[in-house]
Amino acid sequence: MRYSSIERSAEGIPDLSYKSWRKRNISSRLLSFLAGVFACMAVLPLIAVLIYILIKGVASLNIDLFTQLPPPPGGSGGGVGNAILGSIVVTAIATMLAIPIGVGGGIYLAEYSTGKGFSQFIRFGTNVLAGVPSIIAGVFIYGVIVSTRILFGHTFSAIAGGAALSVLMLPTVVKTTDEGLKLVSNDLRRAAFGVGASHFVTVSQITLPKAFTPIATGVVLSIARAAGETAPLIFTALFSPFWPNGIFEPIATLSVLIYNFSAQPYDVQNQLAWAASFILVVFILALNLLARWLGRIANQ
C-alpha cells in the first residue's frame, strides 16, 4: 500500500485507536509538555515576587501602618501614612494633567486629522515617548519646573512630581484613545451626520461615549503604571517625612519611600519598606482588576 498508516482489524473494522508509539504522537506530546513548561516559567517571576512580598510585608500590617508617620532613623513604630496619601495626591495630579491632554490628542488624531504629515509625526512621536526611560522624564521636569522655579518660586513639589508622571502616562492615554475611537464603526458617524449633527456634536455625544470603555481601560492601566514609578519622583517630588503640606512642597510617595528606606541600615525602616511594597503591589493589582472589570462591562 502506498499509505502505510491505514490499518484494519481482522473483521474489516477500521482501527481508530490512539497509537501512542507513533512518531507524530510522541513529538506532539513532547512539544505540548515543553510549551506548558515555558508557560509556567513565564508566570513564575510574577508569582515569586507576589509571594515574597506577601510573606515579608503582611507581617507588619496594622492600623498604625496607614495612619502614622515614618519614625526617625533609629526610632521604632510608625507607619507610611504620609506616603500613601502622597502617592494618591501625586497620581491624582498626574491623571488630571494626562487625561485632558491625552484624550484630547487622541481625539484629534482619530477624528480631526487627515492621517498624513502632522498626525503621522504625532503618532510616531507618541510611540517614541512611550519608550523614553522614566528617569529622563524626571530629569526633564526637573529642568523645566524645578530648577527654573517657575511654580511661584517653589522647587521640589508634588505638582512637579505629577507632571513627571503625566509625561509617562501620556503616550498610553493618547494611543488607547486613538485606537478606541478608530474601533467605533463609521456607520455610527454617518448616522449622526445624516441627522445633521456637527462634527463636534458627533464626537462628543456619539463617538466618544461609544469608545468610553477602551479609553477608560487605557487610562486606568496608565495610572497603574505611573503609580509605581520611582525615578521621576526622586528629582521632582523628592521626599518628606511629614504629612503632605500642600502641593507646592516636596511630598512623600510609596515608591520613593521604598527606595529610601530599603537602603537604610535600620530594621524598622526595612520592615516599613516591605510593608510599603506590599501596599503598592496591592494598589496596582486593584487598578488592573478595575481595568479588567471596566473591559467586561463593555461586553454586556
Partner: protein, 272 residues
C-alpha cells in the same frame, strides 16, 4: 467532544458505510439535533437537505469528529464507521479524519503552491510513492489538471473560486479517504463551477462514499442517490428550534413521492 454509547457493536453490514444510531447533538444545554437514525450507503452519494438551522452541517461535522473543535458540543448515541464506534473513548480523532475527509463551504487552499497543497496531506500521512504521479492523478480526478498543469508551482490562491474548490477536493482525495464529506461545496460558486464540481462528484462516486449537505434542491436531485430531509421544530419552551430527521430514502422517492407531508411541502417550495 463527549459521547455516551453502549458496549456491544453489531456486526458491520458491508453495504452501510456510516451508521448513525440515535444521535443527539447538543451545544452545551441547547439541543441542535435529536434522535437521528440513518445508514449511509457505501459507494453512493447521500445528500442532506433541509431549511436553515435544522442541523445538517452539525451532523455532517459529527461524522468526522470536527465538532470536537467546537467547545461544549457533545453527542449522545452512536456513530459507527464500518462497525467502529467513532466516539469510543480510545479513538484518535486524527485517525478518524484520515479516513473521512471534508470539503468546506468556502474554498480554503493552503497558502502554498498548487503542488504543495496536494503533497502536504500526502506527506504528513506517510506517503511513500511517486509524489508527482499522485499530484497529477488527484488533479485529474478533480477535473482541474488541464487548467493548472502548467502552473503547479504557483500559489493556490491564484486560482478562481471554482478552481480553488476543486483544488480542495483534489487535496482531499490525495490522501485516499474512504468517505468524503462536503459541506455546501458549491454555495460560494457560480453555476459553471458548480456544474464542473457536480461532474467531479459523479466521477468520485466510483471510488468514494460521498455525503453532501446542500441548500440547493436541484443539486440534490442531480447529484445524489439517497437523500435525507431534515427539519427543525420549535421547542415547547419557546427558545430556539431543534432539528430532526424527517425522511431518508432514494432521491427520486423523496422528490417525487415523499412519505411525509413536511417533505412534500419542502421539496415543492412551500417553505424553507
Amino acid at each position: 467532544m463527549t459521547a455516551s454509547s453502549s458496549p456491544e457493536l453489531p456486526h458491520p453490514n458491508s453495504d452501510v458505510c456510516i451508521s448513525i444510531q440515535n444521535a443527539t447533538i447538543s451545544y452545551g444545554d441547547f439541543e441542535a439535533l435529536k434522535n437521528v437514525f440513518c445508514d449511509i450507503p457505501r459507494g453512493q452519494v447521500t445528500a442532506f437537505i433541509g431549511p436553515s438551522g435544522c442541523g445538517k452541517s452539525t451532523l455532517l461535522r459529527a461524522l468526522n469528529r470536527m465538532n470536537d473543535l467546537i467547545e461544549g458540543c457533545s453527542l449522545h448515541g452512536r456513530i459507527l464507521f464500518d462497525g467502529a464506534d467513532l466516539y469510543a473513548p480510545d479513538v484518535d480523532p486524527v485517525e478518524v479524519r484520515r479516513r473521512i475527509g471534508m470539503v468546506f463551504q468556502q474554498p480554503n487552499p493552503f497558502p502554498k503552491s498548487i503542488y504543495e497543497n496536494i503533497a502536504f496531506g500526502a506527506r504528513i500521512n506517510g506517503y511513500n510513492g511517486d509524489m508527482d504521479e499522485l499530484v497529477e492523478k488527484s488533479l485529474r480526478q478533480a477535473a482541474i489538471w488541464d487548467e493548472c498543469k502548467d502552473k503547479l508551482k504557483e500559489s493556490g490562491n491564484s486560482l478562481s473560486g471554482g478552481q480553488q474548490q476543486r483544488l480542495c477536493i483534489a487535496r482531499t482525495i490525495a490522501i485516499e479517504p474512504e468517505v468524503i464529506l462536503m459541506d455546501e461545496p458549491c454555495s460560494a460558486l457560480d453555476p459553471i463551477s458548480t456544474l464542473k464540481i457536480e461532474e467531479t462528484i459523479h466521477e468520485l462516486k466510483k471510488s468514494f462514499t460521498i455525503v453532501i449537505v446542500t441548500h440547493n434542491m436541484q443539486q440534490a436531485v442531480r447529484v445524489s442517490d439517497m437523500t435525507a430531509f431534515f427539519n427543525a421544530e420549535a421547542l415547547e419552551g419557546g427558545t430556539g428550534k431543534v432539528g430532526y430527521l424527517v425522511e431518508f430514502n432514494d432521491t427520486d422517492k423523496i422528490f417525487n413521492a415523499p412519505a411525509q407531508q413536511a417533505t412534500q411541502d419542502y421539496v415543492s417550495g412551500r417553505f424553507g
